[in-house]
């Protein structure tokens, strides 16, 4: 069962809900290791994405993902704006001009998004960034497709993202504002990793529903 652009919209709509719910939590995390605006930045951006769905959104995956990416880029600001924005811009390029994505196409689009984040922020594993939640999630999704459907894959991805998020607590930040803290960043979860976990939670909930 291929994924439709309608589901992409549901995915982001759910992501928006989760971000607005968790805004304070994200801000608190960023206050501890950054400048305390991650909650505000993400909430501003996802609200704009949700609003953009109101007046009829593009029906093709590439156009839809690109408009999502551009909206994030132009409203989030800070470090996370270009990163999440690039994720969806590349997702769109990989998805191509279609209204339906096969599981493999969807997985490839996620991988393209991840590659975009790497290109943009040059994060390495264990730098204590959103990458530490995103990379395991994207790999888990692909693994899940080996012996399961997108729904199963999305569940694995969400679990992997949560695990990656939690693991950032033990790390010393080497990228972003938190890196100025050096050792003092240990013991705190990275805010971007936390918002990325919400992105994949939203995905599994969306695809999960559909299949239910």
């Amino acid at each position: 069962m291929p994924t439709t652009t309608t589901q992409l919209i549901e995915w982001l709509a759910r992501f928006d809900e989760l971000i607005q719910e968790q805004r304070g939590y994200l801000t608190d995390l960023d206050s501890e290791v950054g400048d305390g605006d991650h909650g505000a930045n993400m909430s501003r951006g996802l609200a704009a994405v949700a609003a953009s769905f109101a007046e009829n959104p593009p029906e093709f995956a590439d156009e839809l993902a690109k408009s999502i990416g551009m909206t994030l880029v132009s409203t989030v600001g800070g470090a996370s704006g270009p990163l999440y924005g690039t994720f969806f811009l590349r997702f769109g390029t990989s998805a191509g001009h279609t209204t339906k994505l096969t599981p493999i196409e969807f997985s490839d689009a996620l991988a393209a998004g991840l590659a975009g984040v790497v290109e943009r922020g040059k994060p390495e594993r264990d730098d204590k960034t959103m990458f530490d939640a995103m990379e395991p999630a994207v790999l888990a999704f692909r693994t899940g497709l080996v012996d399961g459907d997108v729904r199963y894959a999305a569940t694995l991805a969400s679990h992997a993202a949560d695990a990656g998020r939690d693991a950032t607590a033990d790390l010393v930040a080497r990228k972003g504002r938190a890196s100025y803290l050096g050792e003092r960043s240990v013991g705190h979860i990275d805010p971007g990793a936390a918002s990325t976990a919400l992105l994949f939670q939203a995905l599994s909930e969306t695809l999960g529903q559909e299949a239910a």
């Binding site: 880029v73 600001g77 996370s80 704006g81 943009r120 922020g121 504002r177 890196s179």
Partner: protein, 328 residues
């Protein structure tokens, strides 16, 4: 929070409106939050663009004008501007000779300017300012932060652009300046971000934050409150330890963080100049005042730039902006 503001979310827009009302020599595009020169440069001259989070006034809008920037892009308080704003400004000021982006080294600023560069229509070169010696091992961090040196760079490179140098030459000079200066700051109090409503960090009455950033990020270490003389030592020492200014003439800035009065800044400058000259630095040009601030933070920073006759000449060249004006 005691501030002369209305709703916190309107601070940036309303302050820009007031800036526009105060300065006929600039034009403010409220929609994209970009400040332009009222009369643009002649065709074929390289244009300079800078920008970043707000709260560092007069940086950057106060430096838009003849001899410095062609435009400044304002982000929310302490949050970098977005690529669409930067692209709009870049395309608007490009006279055909290309645009130099002057970016302070913060992950958010760097990435947003990078994306803008990819989307800009004309030629764009970028210089990244990373002068804050408070950030020690830059290999395991996002690198040194861009602070006071930004002002000196905008002045010097701005003068070079007015001379009609091409984009490659302007960019090369910008990198030379960016790599020849160092800064170090101290905070006596925390700044208060309007949206947050409370000080970013708590600082006891008998302590100060040494090596502080300009967004209220923590500094190198928290130390007991000291005398101006001792503080001057704590600021000058790491700068001299990091770069060799010996012999050459230097441009020195004693910058206020926003909440410290001029009487104290001049006193600090006296201490700093004495220490620099003891160390053999030739203080050839000076700037004392609030040039790169952190909202209402009390404190100061020292910037030292190694110069030569060419750079001093560009420093002395006419400049006519709201915050820096001479020879005109």
């Amino acid at each position: 929070m005691k501030k002369l503001i209305n709703a916190p979310e309107d601070v940036l827009a309303e302050s820009l409106a007031g800036f526009a009302a105060a300065h006929r020599e600039v034009r403010v595009d409220a929609a994209t939050r970009v400040v332009y020169r009222a009369d643009p440069k002649p065709h074929g001259t390289v244009a300079l663009l800078s920008g970043g989070g707000s709260g560092h006034e007069p940086l950057h809008a106060g430096y838009v004008g003849f001899g410095m920037l062609d435009a400044a892009v304002a982000g929310q308080v302490f949050t970098s501007p977005t690529p669409d704003q930067i692209v709009a400004a870049t395309n608007a000021i490009d006279t055909g000779a290309g645009v130099l982006h002057i970016v302070k080294n913060y992950t958010g600023d760097v990435m947003n300017f990078d994306m803008a560069t990819e989307l800009a229509t004309g030629a764009v070169e970028t210089v990244v300012v990373a002068d804050d010696v408070a950030v020690e091992n830059s290999t395991f961090t996002a690198g040194r932060r861009g602070t006071g040196l930004t002002v000196l760079l905008e002045k010097i490179v701005g003068a070079a652009a007015e001379q009609g140098r091409d984009l490659a030459e302007v960019a090369a000079l910008a990198w030379l300046v960016a790599t020849s200066g160092r800064s170090m700051g101290v905070a006596l109090t925390s700044s208060t971000v309007p949206a947050a409503g409370r000080p970013t960090f708590d600082l006891p009455d008998d302590e100060m934050e040494l090596g502080v950033g300009i967004h209220g990020e923590p500094g190198r270490r928290r130390v007991p409150l000291a005398s101006a003389h001792e503080i001057a030592g704590m600021l000058v020492e790491p700068i001299l330890a990091d770069y060799n200014f010996g012999g050459a003439p230097a441009v020195v800035m004693l910058n206020g963080m926003g909440g410290t009065p001029l009487i104290e800044l001049y006193l600090m400058f006296g201490e700093v100049k004495t220490l620099l000259e003891k160390a053999g630095v030739v203080v050839a040009r000076t700037l004392v005042g609030n040039y790169v601030t952190s909202l209402d933070m009390a404190g100061c920073s020292v910037t030292v730039l190694r110069a030569d006759d060419e750079i001093l000449g560009l420093w002395d060249a006419p400049v006519n902006t709201p915050a820096l004006r001479w020879g005109i």
